[in-house]
């Protein structure tokens, strides 16, 4: 399997790094090297630290890897994700740009065509709309249009989706937009494990990868199970309902699962992890078991991914962002995105419960 190949390629690197122990020591897949920590001490890192370490390791390993974006070097990153990297690697490899997304995204694509491995940071993916032509048309489609002659090994990364109180223009979730483009790979990690493993894999991937982070997850010590690149991850096993989510919505879904568990409902939470390619098999396997499906994402409803399955006892419940540009007032903003109580309520509805 390709995923096993990828894993075996970067498992040694992961082993040498400071690696967090899994919160729930479960065996998820075959082929994952389980880390033997003899002690019970929890080594955890924040999502931000995981991303930083992933980039540092890859830049050490391959001198063609460089970072380009606004405030990534001397400012240490608008959200401090690239902190310390300029000090370590110098300004040749951590490049501050003017505020010209279309231009520097194009430069990243050209550098990738020419054999480098750029990590192009967008301060948020809202600003990447200015550059979306370069991402979709120059990066995403060129390998196909050239008949396999011109690969584009670029990573576009940055915060995506809701932040807090930043208003409509700074809160959109683009997972479905980029996820609809064949030629791109689109990743939306959740835990620190996801972030470290998936960012390393993304940097090594010869395809253009859109790496969607979430600003509200950066500071968290979000612990999940060890990442496999292609596959969704069952973060919590259950038998009554399948909740599929990605990025921050996984946090809410896990909390909702806890709430539901108090009432005897066993929800299975799948961390999608990869939007494109989408791991349908994991979802189907789960739905066959639970017969109920709920999909949770921060994007607008019309664009959210929903699937009809043959194994359902109840219609698919789609829990999404509200179909409005994100409002600024706190109480209104809270009504624009899914949260834990909402997910709990809807899960019960799928189970035909009214309480």
């Amino acid at each position: 399997m390709v995923s096993r190949l990828l894993l075996s390629r970067f498992a040694p690197a992961l082993a040498s790094a400071r690696r967090p122990a899994a919160a729930v020591p479960r065996h998820a897949f075959m082929g994952i090297r389980r880390y033997a920590t003899a002690d019970t001490e929890q080594h955890t890192m924040t999502v931000r630290e995981a991303l930083n370490l992933a980039m540092e390791e890859e830049m050490t390993r391959d001198e063609n890897v460089f970072i380009i974006g606004e405030e990534v070097a001397r400012y240490n990153g608008a959200y401090k994700v690239t902190k310390g990297l300029m000090d370590k690697f110098g300004e040749k490899r951590v490049v501050d740009t003017p505020i010209t997304e279309m231009g520097f995204a194009g430069i990243a694509v050209g550098a990738a065509f020419q054999g480098l491995r750029p990590i192009c940071e967008f301060m948020t993916f809202n600003f990447a709309m200015q550059a979306i032509d370069q991402i979709v048309n120059s990066a995403g489609k060129t390998y196909y249009m050239s008949g396999g002659n011109v690969p584009c090994p670029v990573v576009f990364r940055g915060p995506n989706g809701a932040a807090s109180g930043v208003g409509a223009q700074h809160s959109q979730d683009y997972a479905a937009w980029y996820g609809s483009v064949p030629g791109l790979k689109v990743v939306s990690p959740w835990s620190a494990e996801d972030c470290k493993g998936l960012l390393k894999a993304a940097i090594r991937d010869p395809n253009p990868v859109v790496f969607l982070e979430n600003e509200m997850l950066y500071g968290g010590h979000v612990v999940g199970l060890l990442a496999s690149y292609w596959q969704g991850q069952v973060e919590k096993e259950g038998s009554d309902i399948t909740i599929v989510a990605h990025s921050k919505m996984v946090t809410h879904s896990m909390e909702a699962a806890e709430e539901l568990a108090k009432e005897g409902i066993k929800a299975e939470v799948i961390n999608l992890r990869s939007i494109r390619p989408l791991d349908i098999d994991t979802i189907i396997k789960s739905v066959k078991k639970t017969n109920r499906l709920m999909i949770v994402e921060g994007g607008f409803p019309i664009s959210s991914r929903a699937r009809q399955f043959d194994y359902l006892d109840a219609p698919v419940e789609r829990v999404t962002g509200a179909d409005v540009p994100t409002p600024y007032a706190t109480n209104l903003e809270a009504l624009a995105f899914p949260d834990t109580p909402l997910i709990t309520k809807v899960a019960k509805r799928a189970l035909y419960r009214t309480n």
Partner: protein, 414 residues
């Protein structure tokens, strides 16, 4: 044949006034200062050549270049007979290829977009003679000659236009998406190739390569914001990028003066110096490109803007007759008085480099070469159905499944 220069030279006073336009334009030609003279045959021979590989000196017309904050290129150019003959052969062959594409399009064997560079041959051939193999070139959609000259093949281009497996992009890209290891296309989105070209130069600098990238665009694309974004970063970081504006006076159906508040495209780099060149004279074109390369690579002066003043005889594309926004007389006049191939022909005959018979033989051979390539391209089959799913992702990194149009269609990779 009569090659009358279409311009009269202005009085000395006007030149002293610092006007960019040193020549008066004839009435029918578009207004808006082309400073350079644009006939193809005003270069003078200084020493007669003897054998084919012995270099001899030519002197370009003093109005071959206009400069913006940079020194004028040397008007004396060293060439050899064999190089001149090669230029003639290449320009003739490229024109034949484009004409073949024209015919195939009209026969409905080529579909979609097809943008021909007939009239602009001196730019692509001149560039190829002024750069090194490992430099990089990127342009927009008027790309067929570049694809051949940069290491491709005529058969590969024609087969791509026909949508066949033997095409340089396996039939998957079409006219606008043809690449070679030193040519990054062929790009469909106007202007997008310019920052991408600056990115290739970024990588060349990063890796310490003694090369540069020619990022080409037209007068229509020159107003794109991303072009200025690329200018800014190239100048800020001293990237070895030559920004090349192929000014053929029309952006699709819009003359340059109707799209651009400043039609002196070579001055629009602001802090980046610029050079305007007679793009119909292949010797001038080659000299400008060599000058630009030396500027960026040897002298490490950072970016330069190069503007070739050139002309396309055809419309914007095969869907455009090219006569609704300009007169047939204008097109005819350009063809008969400023054609780059006829201009070079005149030099070659005048300087004793080749006789009319020899040049006719080259013409004939060019036609035969292209005809053979077209025949070979036509033999190539359509791509197999499996190729639909191929190269969406890098070989070996495909996802498990790519869905088709409905749930029973699709490709499972593993």
């Amino acid at each position: 044949m009569a090659h009358q220069p279409p311009f009269s030279v202005r009085s000395r006073t006007e030149e002293e006034n610092g006007s960019l336009a040193c020549v008066r334009l004839l009435r029918r030609l578009p207004l808006g200062a082309r400073g350079v003279q644009t006939t193809a045959d005003t270069t003078q021979l200084h020493q007669a050549p003897s054998d084919a590989s012995e270099p001899f000196t030519l002197k370009l017309h003093e109005d071959s270049f206009q400069t913006y904050n940079c020194p004028k290129p040397d008007l004396e150019v060293q060439v050899t007979k064999s190089e001149l003959l090669e230029m003639y052969q290449q320009m003739t062959t490229m024109r034949r290829m484009e004409m073949a594409a024209d015919a195939l399009y009209k026969a409905k064997m080529i579909r979609g977009f097809c943008h021909l560079a007939i009239g602009q041959e001196a730019v692509s051939v001149g560039m190829e003679h002024g750069i090194e193999k490992d430099d990089r070139v990127i342009t927009g959609y008027r790309c067929h000659p570049f694809a051949v000259l940069r290491g491709g093949s005529i058969k590969g281009v024609i087969a791509e236009l026909l949508g066949r497996k033997g095409g340089m992009s396996q039939g998957k890209g079409g006219s606008m998406h043809i690449f070679t290891p030193s040519f990054f296309g062929g790009n469909g989105i106007v202007g997008a190739q310019v920052p991408v070209g600056a990115g290739a130069a970024f990588a060349q600098q990063y890796k310490g390569e003694k090369n540069c990238t020619f990022a080409m665009y037209g007068d229509g694309a020159s107003n794109q914001g991303q072009v200025f974004e690329a200018y800014n970063m190239a100048k800020l970081w001293n990237l070895p990028t030559i920004f090349v504006c192929e000014n053929n006076k029309y952006g699709m159906g819009t003359p340059a003066e109707r799209s651009s508040s400043n039609t002196a495209y070579f001055t629009r780099g602001d802090k980046i110096p610029g050079l305007q060149v007679n793009g119909m004279d292949i010797i001038a074109a080659k000299q400008a490109v060599a000058y630009a390369r030396k500027w960026a690579v040897d002298d490490q002066n950072g970016p330069l803007v190069l503007e070739f003043v050139t002309y396309r005889y055809g419309g914007h594309s095969m869907s455009d007759p090219g006569t609704t926004y300009r007169t047939r007389e204008e097109v005819q006049r350009m063809r008969s008085t400023q054609d780059p191939i006829r201009g070079l022909q005149r030099y070659l005959e005048e300087w004793g480099v080749a006789t009319e018979q020899e040049l006719k033989a080259i013409d004939k051979e060019a036609k035969a070469t292209v005809d053979a390539a077209v025949a070979e391209a036509k033999e190539s089959p359509e791509p197999p159905v499996e190729d639909l799913w191929k190269d969406v992702y890098f070989k070996g990194t495909e996802p498990q499944f790519l869905r088709g149009r409905e749930r029973e269609e699709g490709k499972r990779f593993y």
